[in-house]
Structures are given as C-alpha cells and as structure tokens.
Amino acid sequence: MQLWLIPVFPLTGFLLNGIFGRRWSKAVIHTIAVGSVLLSFAWVLKTLAGLGDLSAAHTEQYFTWIQSGILHVGMDFTVDRLTAVMLLVVTGVGLVIHIYSIGYMAHEGGYQRFFAYMNLFMFFMLILVLAANYLVMFVGWEGVGLCSYLLIGFYFDKKFATNAGNKAFIVNRIGDFGFSLALFLIVVHFGTLDFGAVFTAAGGKSEGTLTAIALLLLVGACGKSAQLPLYVWLPDAMAGPTPVSALIHAATMVTAGVYMVARSAAIFTRAPAAMEAVAIVGVATAFFAATIGMLQNDIKKVFAYSTVSQLGYMFLGAGVGAFSAGIYHLVTHAFFKALLFLASGSVIHALSGEQDLRNMGGLGKKIPWTFATMLCAGVAIAGVPPFAGFYSKDAILAAANNHAPWMYWVGVITAGMTAFYVFRAIFMAFLGEYRGKGHPHESPAVMLVPLVILGALSLVGGYLFRVPGYLAPLFPLAVESHDISPMLISVAFGLGGIALAWVFYVVRPGLPDQLAATFSGLYKLVYNKYFVDEIYGAVVVTPVVSGSREVLWKGVDVAVIDGAVNGAGNRARGIGGVLKLLQSGNIRSYATWVLLGGVVLLFVMGVMGGLR
C-alpha cells in the first residue's frame, strides 16, 4: 500500500522549501508546504480505505537497517487501528494548522524556514506513528524533539525563545535517556525491537523485568508528554509561533507519550505497579497543572498548562487500563486544544502581538468569529455534553472510578478547574470593556476557515468518532456501568467551573482580587507556579553548572585531560632535549657511537650467548 509515501510527502516539502525556499515567493512556499501535507492526508485516507477494517495489522518491510549479532532492525512500517487513528489526527489536524499558518505567518520573517520545519516535523511525527519497531519509533521520537526545539527557538534573535528551545531539548533528554534505557532492556530480554515480537513474547517474561521496562518507558513518555516532574519545558515552549504551539505542543507531539504507552499496552498491562505509576503521574499532573492554569495571565500560558493538565488525563486513562479512553481524549483534545491555540493566535494576531489577558476584554464584538470558535473549544474542553471533550473525559473518569475512586474525585475537581480557567480566559478576553490600546481586527479567511473546521470538530467530534469502539479489538472495553451519577457529577463540576468563572470575571470583576488578597500566601505560591522552575534551578541547574565549571572544567579538563596532553608534550621535549646532544654534527663522534654499538652487540652475542 506504499505506506512510505505518507511521510515522504512532507519530507519532500521540507527539502524543497529548505533548499530553494529562500528564492521563492511566499505563495510557492506555502503551496508546497500545505500541498505536501494535503497529499499526505489524502494518501492516508486512500490507504485506510484500501486496507479495509484493519482487524489485523498491516506491516510493510522496506530494508534492513541494522543487522548485528542477534539484533535485526528493519525499516518497517505498520498500520493497525491505533496507528490509523493517530495518522488521521496527525495529518488531518496538521493540515488544518498548516493552512492557518499561511495567514498567521504572513507578516513574519523566515517564512520558508517556518514551513520547512513544520513539514520536517510532520515527517518525523508520521515516522513515529507508523513505526513497526521501537527503534524506528525512536527515530521519529527524536526527530519531533528536534523540530520542537527548532520551532520553539524560531525567533532566534530573542533570548527567551532560544532559552525555551534549549530548555525543551534538555528536559527531553532526561526522558529520552529513560526511553533508550528501556530499549536496551528490551533488546537484552527479548532480543528484538519489533512491536509484534515483543508483545507476543511479553507474556513469558517476569513481572519485574516488564515493570522495569514499563517504568523506563514512562520516564520517556513523561519527558515528551510533559508530565510531572518533567513538564517544565512545555509552558516555556509557548515562545514559538502559535501554530507551532497548536500543532506540536498541543495536538500531536506531546501526545506521542500517550501513544507510546498505549502502543506498549502489552507490556504495561502485565506490570501493574507501572500502570499504577502511570495513573498517579497522570492524575497528579492533571490536578497540579490545572491549579497553575487558573492564575496565569498570558493567554498562551493558560492553554499551555491546560495542555499539561489534559495530557495528565490521558495518562490517567492509560494508567487505569482504559487505553482507548486515553486515545479518545487524545483525539478530541487535538481538536479543541488546537482550536484554543489557533483561536488565541487569532486574538494575538488581532491585537498585533498582545498576549496578556489583562490588556484584552470586549473582543467578542470586534472579532466575533474567533469568539464563536473559541466558545466551541471552551464547551468542548469543559466537558459540557454533548460536545467532544465530554465523551472522552467521561470515558476516562468512568474508568478511573472503577479503578480507584480517589482518582475519580481528583479528576472531577480538575475538570471543574479546567472549565474555570478556560472560561476565565474567554471571559477576560472577549467580554467586558476593551482594556487595550490598539485597534483589533478580525483575522483573514485563511485563518478563520481552519478555526471553523476545528470548531465543528470540537462540537461533534466526540459523537462522530467513537474511538473506544473502533479500538476495541486492540484494547478491550471496560464493563459498561449503568450508574450515571459519576458522569452527572463531572458535568456538574464542569458547569460549576464555568459559572464560577462567570461570577468572578463578568458579574463581579473585583472578586478575584479580594480573594487573592485574602489568601495571599496561597495565591502567590500558585501564581508563581509553585516555584518549580526556581526549585529546579537551585537543585538541578545550579549544581550541574557549578559542578561542570569547578569539577569538570577546572578539575577534570584542565588538570587531567590538558595535564595529560601537555605532560606528554613536555616529556617528549625533555627527552628530545637530552637526545639532541647526541646530534653533534661531528661525523667522527657518530662513528664512535656506531663502533660502541657494534662492540656492545658483539659482547652480547659472544659473551652472553645472544639475545634470547
């Protein structure tokens, strides 16, 4: 079925724009970039149509990549129902965001660079989801990390952007270190990296082995999907252009960790301790990030923490065994969170770069389309039935309730906070009086059409795409509970959150400040994001930097390495200084030495009986 064409289209776009883009007009550049993703999307549709119902995985083997001892790694792609869902999300949402970028980036420099990186990202993301073994997946995994770094630091002349790029890359290294350790363990214990072979053999391995592998995979997933304690890079990643935040840091790349956990379900389900760890990490992240999101004033930061929080939900779903619910939420989240970012991008575009919610307000009348689509995303993420987020969040919370009620309750409270902070942002931006200075203008159609498409998907996507049912052959559905009270409670919390936001920011705008003054200690703690960055700075960064400077540089490098090299050189010079005395230039002295040597040789051979 020529699966390889799916990632090759964006790669071609990257190469064309990357090499020749500098000389081309913007029209040519974005035609190539969007066209390549469109072709990729079309090819996904054609492939999936041709593969029928995909009840069995379809694998294509292209060439042997590594053949070394027992290890055989092929450049193989596979498609099953899980891959199909991911392919549609990545290429579909990716296409919409590419189209949006035409409008958003129209007045920015580095147009061809932006689209080249975006296409490169699509290439690696498709490699990641198509991979038929862990190593090919790792290639995509690292590749999307690279593109994330490049696009976060897109405005490379701004210090904070390059710092944010570095932070994302370095924090991800920690996760990737865990991931690569997991790969080594898999090679040691299974002798192969192929998904099929590993998952078949997983039943025969000891629980300890599987737990170790699963926990290391979880470390990798925590890095990529911004879970506690490695989430710190994602909020800073908002330094990149908004379409990047939507595509990479909301819809696709950050969900790679969830995908990887779901893909490795055969390992995780046999390691209950690791599953528990996944669930706890997920629920803790969801709650923790949601509390921070409630007090952020930068519109993109609000949604960044919201992304961290929602990714926590997906991990919670996967951790309590409802992998399909996690993927379900991944899909709906791709719709509404991409929309939230794109719509906030539209707001920022309208205000010529203003991102602070306190300088917005009253925008609902000036940019009505953006307002309307953002409301769609808002009701979807708040879990208001029957919109997209309701279905997936309900599936996760139901599974959590079956697993451990306390997780359910934390999830429900988080759902309330989610609704609160999203509508807080919406109300602050779109209702009330305009507090800014510029003249807002509605975005062009090329930006609004993607917003409308995603808005429609946010409203009906959960109902249309019944992901858990589709994935049932891979991940058996949990037993249906007829008790609808958990669902009603979570919906009530969501609506309560919206109502609270309404009271705080529309009815009585002074109330939040009074509360902040009353609970000033708690307010400052949360407002400053629990000082996590500062703690990491003091506990990790400073010791590493000073340790590198004092021990590694001045100690190891200067004393040991330079000392060894310089010492070798000095020793050679010293010996040479002695030996050069022999080179007197006096031929007769040379002859004397030759004679002496001859005599010594004769002596050795004759008297001592030879050199034996």
Binding site: Q583, S584, G585, N586, I587, R588, A591, T592, L595
Partner: protein, 102 residues
C-alpha cells in the same frame, strides 16, 4: 692452503678492519676517512673469502662480490660528494662539515 692456518687470514682481516676503524675515527681528512672505509670493507671481504674457502662454499665469494659492487658505487657517489663539498667550502676537514646539526 696448506701451511697457512686459517687464523692467520682472520687475524690479517681483523688487523685490516681495525686499521680502517682507527683511521675512520682518528683522521680528519675526508679522503683518508674514505680510504679507511674501503679498508674496512676489504678486511671484511678477506674474512668472507677465508670462510668460503675453508667451508668449500661459494656464498662467501658471492658476498664479497656484492661488497665490491657496493664499494664501487659508494666510491663513485662519495667522491662526487667530496668534490662538491670541496668546491663549496674549500676544505677537506671532516669536522668543519657539520651544518646538518641543527
């Protein structure tokens, strides 16, 4: 070779060689040094021939031919070098030719 013992030939050979060494080490005139080298070579040749004759084997004689060829070639090249050095420096004192030292 009746009447003349082997050792006499070898002693003569050793004496020739030692004279060559002594001349090489002690004389400063480059021509003399050169002749000393020839003397050493011929001393070695003599011992080759002696052993060849004694052991009834032809190897030693072949070796001595080889040595003669080398000596001839050496004389040709060496004398040419000496000539050039003399033209350039107007000296035959071997101690003055030490510019390769540094």
């Amino acid at each position: 070779m009746t009447g003349v013992p082997l050792s006499w030939y070898l002693i003569l050979s050793a004496v020739l060689f030692s004279l060559g060494v002594a001349g090489f080490l002690l004389r400063r005139n480059v021509i003399t040094v050169f002749m000393s080298i020839e003397l050493m070579l011929n001393g070695v040749n003599l011992s080759f021939i002696t052993f060849s004759y004694q052991l009834r084997q032809v190897n030693g004689q072949i070796f001595s031919f080889l040595v003669m060829v080398v000596a001839a070639a050496e004389a040709a090249v060496g004398l040419a070098i000496i000539l050039t050095v003399f033209k350039n420096r107007a000296t035959l004192n071997i101690d003055d030719v030490s510019s390769m030292k540094d």
